[in-house]
C-alpha cells in the first residue's frame, strides 16, 4: 500500500485515497494554476457510485433529447420520469428544437408590432402604420441574431403565435400585455410572420395574432380580432354592455364560458366580426 510521491515544491495537496501500489509519480505543478494532486484512482466506493450515476445520467439525457419529436406515450412517460433529475439542473431538452430545423412555420421569423392608430378589423389593419417593438429591435450587439436576446425573442413570439393559432388568446395576452401596458397610446398589437424562400411564392406576411387594446382606468385588455367566419353552432346569448367599449356596444357572450377565467368568446354584433377576449388585466 505504499504510495510514492514526488514533491517538486512545498505546495503538494493530500491526494485521494488509493489502494494501488504501482502508481506513477504524483506531481503538482506548483505556481502554474494547474492545481490538484495527481491521485490516480478514486476509492472503490466512489467508483461504485459514479458507475451507477453515469449510465443513469447518459440515459436520461438521451431520452430527453430524443423526446422532442412526437414521442410515443412510453417515451413521454419515461421522459417525464427523468424530469425531477434533469430540470433542476437544466439538463433537459424540454421540447427545444434539438433537430435545428424541420422547415416548419415555427422556424419562420416573427415580429411583434404595435400601432397608435385605431384598428377595427383584420382587413383594415393593413392600412395603418405598424412599428416593430421588443428587445430584439434594439440595434445593439446583444440583439445580433444567434445570441441570447434574439433567441429569446424568437421563442417568445413563436410561442405566442402558436398559442394564438390554437385558440388560446388568454395565454397570448399573458405573454404580450407587458409590451402594451406601459404605453397608453398603443391601440393595437399584432404578431407578424415573415415568409421564407421555402414558402410558396405567393405567400405573403401573415398575421397569426391581432388584438385591439382596451383600457379602462388602470386595467388593460387585449381583444383578439379574427377573420369573419360563419358558424352553425347554437348560441345561448347574454346581452350586456361591456364597460371597456365606451359607445355601449352590445356584445354577445357565450354562457358556457362566462364563468371561466379563461378565454371568453365575444361576437361583435355590429361589425359581424369574431372577437375573442383574453380577460387579462395589466396595471399601467
Amino acid at each position: 500500500m505504499s504510495r510514492r510521491r514526488t514533491k517538486t515544491k512545498q505546495n503538494v495537496r493530500d491526494p485521494e485515497p488509493s489502494d494501488q501500489s504501482d502508481r506513477p509519480a504524483e506531481v503538482e505543478r506548483a505556481g502554474t494554476g494547474l492545481g490538484g494532486s495527481a491521485s490516480t484512482e478514486p476509492s472503490t466506493n466512489v467508483k461504485t457510485w459514479l458507475s451507477i450515476w453515469v449510465p443513469f445520467h447518459l440515459v436520461a439525457i438521451g431520452v430527453s433529447f430524443t423526446a422532442v419529436v412526437e414521442p410515443s406515450s412510453i417515451h413521454q412517460r419515461l421522459s417525464d420520469l427523468f424530469h425531477p433529475y434533469l430540470r433542476p439542473m437544466h439538463f433537459s431538452a424540454d421540447d427545444r428544437p434539438v433537430y435545428l430545423t424541420h422547415g416548419d412555420s415555427d422556424d419562420q421569423p416573427h415580429r411583434i408590432e404595435v400601432t397608435k392608430q385605431p384598428v377595427s378589423g383584420l382587413d383594415q389593419s393593413e392600412l395603418v402604420d405598424w412599428r416593430a417593438v421588443g428587445p430584439g429591435e434594439a440595434q445593439r450587439f446583444a440583439s445580433m441574431p444567434g445570441l441570447a436576446v434574439s433567441d429569446r425573442v424568437a421563442r417568445w413570439l413563436a410561442t405566442a403565435a402558436m398559442l394564438a393559432e390554437n385558440d388560446q388568446p388568454s395565454m397570448v395576452a399573458d405573454l404580450l400585455l407587458p409590451v402594451v401596458v406601459k404605453d397608453p397610446e398603443i391601440t393595437a398589437v399584432r404578431i407578424v410572420r415573415y415568409p421564407t424562400d421555402l414558402n410558396d411564392i405567393n405567400t405573403e406576411i401573415t398575421v397569426p395574432y391581432l388584438a385591439r387594446v382596451l383600457r379602462s382606468g388602470d386595467s388593460v385588455w387585449l381583444v383578439q380580432l379574427k377573420e369573419s367566419r360563419l358558424s352553425a353552432q347554437p348560441r345561448l346569448s347574454v346581452s350586456r354592455s361591456f364597460p371597456a367599449f365606451d359607445n355601449g356596444l352590445l356584445v354577445s357572450l357565450e354562457a358556457g364560458v362566462l364563468s371561466s377565467k379563461a378565454d371568453r368568446q365575444l361576437t361583435d354584433l355590429r361589425s359581424g366580426e369574431a372577437v375573442s377576449l383574453g380577460l387579462h388585466e395589466g396595471g399601467r
Binding site: T8, R23, P24, V27, R29, T32, G33, L34, G36, S37, A38, S39, T40, P42, L50, S51, V54, L58, I61, G62, F65, T66, E70, R87, P88, M89, H90, F91, S92, D94, V98, Y99, L100, T101, H102, P109, P135, A142, P145, G146, L147, V149, S150, D151, R152, A154, W156, T159, Q168, M171, D174, L175, L177, P178, V181, T196, D197, L198, A262, G283
Partner: protein, 322 residues
C-alpha cells in the same frame, strides 16, 4: 470447464478494467482546463448579452415576471410544466437583483477562465447559469442546456488557467514535461463525461433531424438559413452559392451524415483528429447558416474532449506507452 471459468474471469477482469480505465484513469488537467476556460468564455458572452434585455423580461410586469409566469401556467393548466424548474430568481422581480446576479455571473466566468477559485468557482458558475436558464423557462434555448451540461462536467476536474494551456507549446521542453505530469483521475472523468455527453447529444440530434423531411429532400441547409430576418448572414440572396440546388443539397446530405460519421471517427484512435474536424465543420455550418453561435461554439468545445478508445496502447494509469 476450469478453462472456461478462467476465461470468463479473465474476460470479467478485462471488462472491469476497461470500464475503470475509461472513466477513472488519471489524465492531464491541462486539456480539461482549456475546455472549461472556453466554456466559461461562452458563458461570459451569454451573460453579457443577457444584460440588455433583463429589465424587459423579468422585472415587475414583464413577460417573464413571477406573477405573469404563474398566471400563464395557471391559465393554460400547465402547472406541471413548471414543476422542478428551480431558480433563486423566482423569489424576486427586482431589477437590481437581476443585474447583481449578472455581475456575479460575469465575474465568476472571468474567474473560471483565469483558473481562480478552483472547483468552487466552477460549480458556482454552473449554478449561476442553471439559475438564470431555469428562470428564463420556456424561452431558454439549446445553448443553455449544452452549457449547463458542459460546465457541470468540466467543473469536476481540478482547476487550471486556460491561457497557460494555450501557450504551453511555446514554453521550453522541461516545463512541458512538468506540466504534463499534473494529472488527476477527476480530470480524466470530467473529460470522459464531456465526451460521452456530447456523443449522446450529437446522436440524438441526428436522430431527431431525421424526423423532418427537409433533411431528406435536400433543403435542410437552406431551411436553416431561410429565416433571414433572424440570421446574422443572409445566404439566400441571388448571388449566394447556397441558392444553387447542388450546393444546398450536397450540404444538407453532408450535414446529415457528418454527425454519425464524425463521432465514429472521433472515437477511433487513428482517425480521431479527422472525426473532430468533421464535427467542428458541422458546428461551423450550423453557426454560419443558422446563426446558432452559442450552441455551435459550445458543441465544438465539447467535441474537443473526445479522446479516442485506445486502451491497448495505454497503461492502466492512462500514460501512453511507447
Amino acid at each position: 470447464m476450469k478453462d472456461a471459468v478462467k476465461n470468463s474471469d479473465a474476460s470479467n477482469d478485462q471488462q472491469e478494467g476497461s470500464w475503470d480505465w475509461f472513466w477513472f484513469s488519471a489524465q492531464e488537467v491541462a486539456p480539461v482546463s482549456l475546455i472549461r476556460g472556453l466554456l466559461s468564455l461562452i458563458s461570459l458572452i451569454y451573460f453579457v448579452s443577457a444584460w440588455t434585455d433583463t429589465s424587459f423580461w423579468y422585472v415587475n410586469g414583464g413577460p417573464l415576471s413571477v406573477d405573469r409566469v404563474s398566471e400563464f401556467l395557471r391559465t393554460g393548466g400547465l402547472e406541471g410544466a413548471g414543476r422542478w424548474i428551480i431558480s433563486p430568481l423566482f423569489l424576486t422581480d427586482s431589477s437590481w437583483v437581476y443585474h447583481l446576479y449578472l455581475v456575479a455571473a460575469i465575474t465568476t466566468s472571468l474567474a473560471v477562465f483565469c483558473g481562480r477559485g478552483g472547483r468552487v468557482a466552477s460549480f458556482l458558475l454552473w449554478f449561476l447559469l442553471v439559475g438564470w436558464a431555469n428562470r428564463t423557462m420556456l424561452l431558454s434555448g439549446l445553448a443553455e442546456t449544452l452549457l449547463s451540461l458542459g460546465l457541470f462536467a468540466a467543473a469536476i476536474a481540478p482547476s487550471g488557467r486556460t491561457w497557460e494551456v494555450l501557450v504551453a507549446k511555446r514554453v521550453n521542453a522541461a516545463e512541458k514535461i512538468r506540466g504534463s505530469l499534473a494529472r488527476h483521475w477527476t480530470a480524466g472523468f470530467a473529460e470522459r463525461l464531456l465526451a460521452t455527453q456530447i456523443t449522446v447529444i450529437g446522436l440524438a440530434t441526428w436522430v431527431t433531424m431525421l424526423g423532418g423531411r427537409v433533411w431528406f429532400n435536400g433543403l435542410g441547409a437552406y431551411a436553416l438559413a431561410a429565416p433571414v430576418q433572424d440570421r446574422t448572414i443572409n445566404w439566400t440572396i441571388s448571388t449566394s452559392w447556397l441558392v444553387r440546388t447542388p450546393v444546398h443539397e450536397m450540404l444538407t446530405h453532408w450535414m446529415v451524415i457528418a454527425l454519425p460519421i464524425g463521432f465514429l471517427l472521433a472515437w477511433l484512435p487513428r482517425t480521431s483528429q479527422v472525426g473532430k474536424l468533421v464535427l467542428i465543420g458541422w458546428c461551423g455550418a450550423v453557426a454560419l447558416l443558422g446563426s446558432h453561435w452559442l450552441y455551435a461554439m459550445t458543441f465544438a468545445v465539447m467535441v474537443v474532449a473526445i479522446r479516442p478508445l485506445s486502451q491497448r496502447h495505454r497503461r492502466k494509469d492512462g500514460v501512453p506507452t511507447a
